[in-house]
C-alpha cells in the first residue's frame, strides 16, 4: 500500500445535514495527526435544503489553498454526485447511499462504494441526520486510520449533548466497520500516514480576527449580523464576560459605526465588523471618525456584490471602495491579510495603529479567508503589545490651554477623553479649530486638512510592506493582495517543481499605497501576472496609478469561487 502525501476529501448534502460540523471535525482530526489542512465550504443562502459542500485538503506537506480535484467524495444526496463528478479523477472514490442512488453514473476509474448511511444511522439509535457521522466513520476506514481517533473527536464535539455523543460514536463505528467488512483491504483507498501532533490549531479567518482583537486589548465591539462577518460577533460575544468587553448587536450598521465612535471618543478601544453592504451604510460614519480623529478599526469581510450580490460566496471586489469611500479626503489604512496568521497579528496591530495615529483602519478579509478552516502552528501572542498612543487621562491645570487638535509635526495631537479635568474639547463633524469649535475660516480649514494628512508618512512606516516570496530573480512574478496569498504560493511551488522560475509578491497593506516598496520589487521583475478576485483588476489600476506600469497579464476571477492554484498555474504557463 503506497501512502499518499496529500489528498482532498469532500462531503456534499443539503443544508441541515451537518455538513459543516462534519467537515470541521474531520479537519481538526487531521490536524491533530500531523496533517496540514485547508477547509473550504460552499453553501447557498438558505437554512434548509439546497446543496452544501465542505472539502478538506490534507497533507503532510505545507499546503495553503484548496484544490479542485477530489480524492474521496461523500455524497449524502444525488445532487452531490451530479454536481461534482467533474472533480473526480481516475483514482477517486465516491461513498454514497445506494438507497438514494441505486445506479451510480459511469465514470472511468472512479471507485463507487455504496454504504447504507441512513440505515446504519437508524441502527445506531440515531436519526437520519447522523448519516454524516456514519460517513465520517467510513472515511476513517478508507484512510486506514484507527477508530479511536474519531471516537475522541466525536466525544469532544458532542460533549455537552449527553446521549447524542454516544449515538454518534455508535453511528461512526458502524460506518467504519461497514467498509472493513464489505470492502476489506480494497476499502483503504486513501491511506495517509498520520502521527499524533499537538499545538497545531485549526481556525477560521474570523477566529483569527476575533482573537487578534482580544489579544490586542479590544474593549468594545459593535456589529450587525452580515455574512461573512457574523462569526466575529459571535466569537467575541462568547468572550465578553471573561475579557470584560462590551459586545453589542445594534439595530443597523449606521448605529454600529456611530456607537463605536462614541465609545472610542470616550476612551474605549473599539472595533466593528461587517461586509461590503454594511460598510456602505457605515461610509458616512467613516468620515466622522476621520474628521474627529477618533480611533476606529473596521473589519470588512468581502463578498460579491453589488447590492445583496452573492451573500455566501467570496470575492475581492471592495478594494477601491475601501480606499476611496466617503466624501472629501483623509488618510486611512487598509490592511489586507493573506492568511490566518496575518489576520491575527494585523488585527492586534490595527488597534495600535488606530490609537497611535487616530485614524480609521480597515481590515479587508473575504468569505474564503473568514470562513475557511486553516491549520496553523499555535500563535505566539506574547509579543502583542497594547499601545494607546497619545491618549491623556491626567488632568491639566486650570490655566493650561489644552488644544485637542493642535497642529503637530507628526499630525498626531494628544487626545483627552470625557471626564478628564481641564482638557475639554469638541469632537466635531464640522471643520473646526484647534479646540474643536466649529470653524469655517480658511486658515483653520487649511491647518486641519494639512494636520490630518501629515500622518501619512508615519502610517507608511507602521504598516506591513509588500513581501516577495521565492527568490529575487524569476521569469514570472505572481502579484496579489489579501487572501490570494496561499493560492499564489502553492501555484509557485507547483511551477517550481516543473522547473519554472517563478516568484510571488504579496501586498498585505494596500493603503497608504506602498509605492517605494512596490517600485523596488517591481523593478526586479521580468514578466508579471496579477491575480485577484474582481472584474476590473482593481489592484492593477492601483499599480498603473502609482507605478505607471501594467502587469503583462491578469488572472481575474469574479464568480464567487476562490482562486485555485491550478488556475494560476494554467495561466502562468501561457506566459512562460
Amino acid at each position: 500500500m503506497i501512502r499518499s502525501e496529500t489528498f482532498q476529501w469532500k462531503i456534499g448534502g443539503e443544508a441541515g445535514q451537518g455538513i459543516k460540523v462534519t467537515g470541521q471535525m474531520f479537519a481538526k482530526m487531521c490536524a491533530r495527526h500531523g496533517l496540514n489542512v485547508v477547509g473550504y465550504s460552499e453553501y447557498p443562502s438558505l437554512i434548509r435544503g439546497g446543496h452544501n459542500t465542505y472539502q478538506v485538503l490534507a497533507s503532510r506537506k505545507m499546503i495553503r489553498a484548496p484544490r479542485k480535484p477530489v480524492d474521496l467524495l461523500i455524497a449524502l444526496t444525488p445532487e452531490t454526485i451530479a454536481g461534482h463528478f467533474r472533480e473526480l479523477g481516475r483514482l477517486s472514490t465516491v461513498i454514497y447511499d445506494a438507497k438514494q442512488l441505486p445506479v451510480p453514473p459511469r465514470q472511468k476509474g472512479v471507485r463507487w462504494r455504496a454504504v447504507p448511511f441512513e440505515d446504519l444511522a437508524v441502527k445506531a439509535g440515531g436519526s437520519k441526520v447522523m448519516r454524516n457521522t456514519v460517513a465520517l466513520g467510513a472515511t476513517f476506514a478508507m484512510m486506514g486510520c484507527d477508530f479511536g481517533v474519531l471516537k475522541d473527536i466525536l466525544e469532544e464535539t458532542f460533549r455537552s449533548k449527553g446521549e447524542v455523543a454516544k449515538i454518534n460514536v455508535a453511528a461512526a463505528r458502524l460506518g467504519f466497520d461497514y467498509i472493513h467488512e464489505h470492502y476489506g483491504d480494497a476499502g483503504v483507498v486513501c491511506p495517509i500516514s498520520m502521527k499524533p501532533r499537538k499545538d497545531h490549531m485549526v481556525l477560521t479567518g474570523n477566529d483569527a480576527i476575533a482573537l487578534g482583537a482580544i489579544a490586542g486589548g479590544l474593549q468594545a465591539y459593535f456589529a450587525y449580523p452580515m455574512t461573512p462577518s457574523t462569526t466575529i460577533l459571535t466569537a467575541l460575544s462568547a468572550q465578553q464576560k471573561d475579557y470584560n468587553m462590551v459586545v453589542r448587536q445594534c439595530e443597523d450598521e449606521i448605529s454600529v459605526i456611530n456607537e463605536a465612535i462614541g465609545a472610542s471618543f470616550a476612551g474605549a478601544r473599539t472595533m466593528i465588523g461587517t461586509s461590503g453592504g454594511g460598510f456602505s451604510l457605515m461610509v458616512e460614519g467613516l468620515g466622522l471618525a476621520a474628521i474627529t480623529e477618533t480611533p476606529l478599526v473596521i473589519a470588512e469581510c468581502q463578498r460579491p456584490g453589488p447590492a445583496t450580490g452573492l451573500p455566501t460566496w467570496t470575492g475581492q471586489a471592495d478594494l477601491r471602495f475601501a480606499i476611496h469611500s466617503h466624501q472629501d479626503e483623509f488618510p486611512r489604512v487598509v490592511l489586507t491579510p493573506g492568511d490566518v496568521e496575518e489576520a491575527f497579528f494585523y488585527t492586534a496591530h490595527a488597534l495600535n495603529i488606530a490609537d497611535l495615529y487616530q485614524v480609521p483602519v480597515l481590515i479587508l478579509s473575504d468569505k474564503y479567508l473568514s470562513e475557511g478552516d486553516w491549520s496553523q502552528p499555535m500563535f505566539d501572542a506574547s509579543a502583542i503589545e497594547i499601545h494607546r498612543g497619545a491618549m491623556i487621562t491626567t488632568p491639566a491645570k486650570a490655566t493650561e490651554k489644552y488644544a485637542r487638535y493642535l497642529s503637530t509635526r507628526t499630525g498626531v495631537s494628544p487626545r483627552s477623553i470625557p471626564g478628564v479635568a481641564n482638557r475639554r474639547f469638541v469632537a466635531n463633524s464640522d471643520e473646526h479649530d484647534v479646540h474643536g469649535w466649529s470653524s469655517e475660516t480658511h486658515t483653520d480649514r487649511i491647518e486641519q486638512m494639512r494636520k490630518r494628512f501629515r500622518k501619512l508618512p508615519g502610517l507608511l512606516r507602521v504598516t506591513p510592506n509588500p513581501k516577495r516570496f521565492g527568490g529575487a530573480t524569476a521569469d514570472l512574478t505572481l502579484i496579489g493582495w489579501g487572501s490570494t496569498k496561499g493560492a499564489m504560493l502553492d501555484a509557485m511551488e507547483q511551477l517550481k517543481q516543473h522547473g519554472e522560475k517563478v516568484n510571488v509578491i504579496h501586498v498585505p497593506c494596500v493603503w497608504p499605497f506602498p509605492t517605494p516598496w512596490m517600485q523596488r520589487l517591481w523593478d526586479q521583475t521580468s514578466k508579471t501576472l496579477l491575480v485577484e478576485g474582481n472584474y476590473s483588476g482593481q489592484f492593477g489600476s492601483l499599480i498603473a496609478e502609482h507605478l505607471h506600469r501594467s502587469p503583462n497579464a491578469m488572472f481575474l476571477k469574479y464568480d464567487g469561487r476562490p482562486i485555485y492554484p491550478e488556475e494560476i498555474v494554467a495561466k502562468a504557463r501561457e506566459l512562460l
Partner: protein, 289 residues
C-alpha cells in the same frame, strides 16, 4: 460627582450664540445650563452630543466635552459614550429633523434598549438651518419651500413614538417657560434609563404657525390639567393625543434597569476602568487545537 458651587456662566464658551434673536433655542440653552448647575455636574464630567441643525449649533455655545455628530446620529454616539463610561451624564441635543426624520430608527431602538441617556429634542416643526422645509413633525398642510401646495403628510407624534417604543421617561416642555423646563431637564437627566423630552421651540424665522403666541394659547401643565398618569403607559398615550391642549410635564416614568446595568462586566467598574495592559489568550488558542 457633585462639585458645588457652580454657576450657569461656568458653561459659557468663547462663542456667543448665532441663533436668531428670539429663537426658542435660547430658552433651552438657558434651562440646560440651569439644570446642570442645580445638579452639580461640572463641565469636565458633562458630555453633550449634538445633532445637526440650529439646535446642533449649540456645540459652540457650551464649554463641556462635546461631540457634534452627523445629522440624525447623535443618539447612537451618546449610547456608545455611555457604554464606555457610564459614570458620566450623557445628554443629546437634537432637532426634530435629526430625531424624527434622519434618525428615527436610532430613537426607537434607544427607547427599547433603555440606554441611560437624556435626549432633548428642539421641536420647532420645521427645518431651520436648511432655510425652511417641512419636518416630520410639521402639521399637515404646512406650506414651505418644498411643499408649496401644502404638506400632504400628517406629522409623527414624538411622545406617542417614545411611549410605544418603551421609553422609561417621557416628558414635554416649552422653551418659553424656562423655570419649568429647567425642572423637567433635571428630572430627565437624573432618571436612570432612557429619558426623552420633546421641547416646543418656536422658530421665529421659518415657522409662522407654531409661534410663541400659538403655544401660549395651548400649552397647559399636566398636573394642572389634572391629567397626569406617570405610571400608566396606556393612559399616558391617551394624554399625548390631546388635541384641545398641548400639555407639558412628565407623561410617563418607570424604574427598570438601564441597558448598561444589565451587563455583568459593568457591574463593578466602567468599561474604561477595565482597560487591560496585556491580554492572555492562551486558553482560547488551546481550544483551537
Amino acid at each position: 460627582m457633585k462639585t458645588l458651587p457652580l454657576q450657569k456662566s461656568s458653561f459659557e464658551s468663547p462663542h456667543f450664540p448665532t441663533w436668531c434673536p428670539g429663537c426658542g433655542d435660547f430658552g433651552i440653552w438657558a434651562a440646560l445650563k440651569n439644570a446642570l448647575t442645580a445638579l452639580g455636574y461640572s463641565k469636565d464630567e458633562t458630555v453633550i452630543v449634538y445633532g445637526i441643525g440650529c439646535s446642533g449649533n449649540m456645540t459652540n455655545f457650551m464649554d463641556v466635552y462635546g461631540f457634534h455628530g452627523l445629522h440624525g446620529r447623535p443618539i447612537p454616539v451618546a449610547t456608545g459614550i455611555k457604554l464606555a463610561n457610564h459614570k458620566l451624564p450623557v445628554i443629546v441635543i437634537a432637532g426634530d429633523g435629526d430625531t424624527f426624520g434622519e434618525g428615527t430608527n436610532h430613537f426607537l431602538h434607544a427607547c427599547r434598549s433603555n440606554a441611560d441617556i437624556t435626549v432633548i429634542v428642539h421641536d420647532n416643526q420645521i427645518y431651520g438651518l436648511t432655510t425652511g422645509q417641512t419636518s416630520p413633525t410639521s402639521e399637515q398642510g404646512t406650506v414651505s419651500k418644498t411643499t408649496p401646495l401644502g404638506s400632504a403628510e400628517r406629522p409623527l407624534h414624538p411622545l406617542a413614538l417614545a411611549l410605544t417604543a418603551g421609553a422609561t421617561h417621557v416628558s414635554r416642555g416649552f422653551s418659553g417657560d424656562i423655570p419649568f423646563l429647567t425642572t423637567l431637564f433635571q428630572r430627565a437627566i437624573q432618571h436612570k434609563g432612557f429619558s426623552f423630552i420633546d421641547v416646543f421651540q418656536p422658530c421665529v424665522t421659518f415657522n409662522k404657525v407654531n409661534t410663541y403666541a400659538y403655544f401660549r394659547e395651548r400649552v397647559v401643565k399636566l398636573q394642572e390639567s389634572g391629567a397626569a398618569a406617570p405610571n400608566n403607559r396606556v393612559k399616558a398615550l391617551e394624554q399625548v393625543f390631546d388635541t384641545e391642549h398641548l400639555p407639558i410635564g412628565v407623561f410617563y416614568e418607570e424604574d427598570i434597569p438601564a441597558y448598561h446595568e444589565q451587563l455583568p462586566q459593568l457591574k463593578e467598574k466602567t468599561l474604561l476602568a477595565h482597560a487591560p495592559k496585556k491580554r492572555n489568550i492562551s486558553k482560547l488558542l488551546q481550544q483551537l487545537t
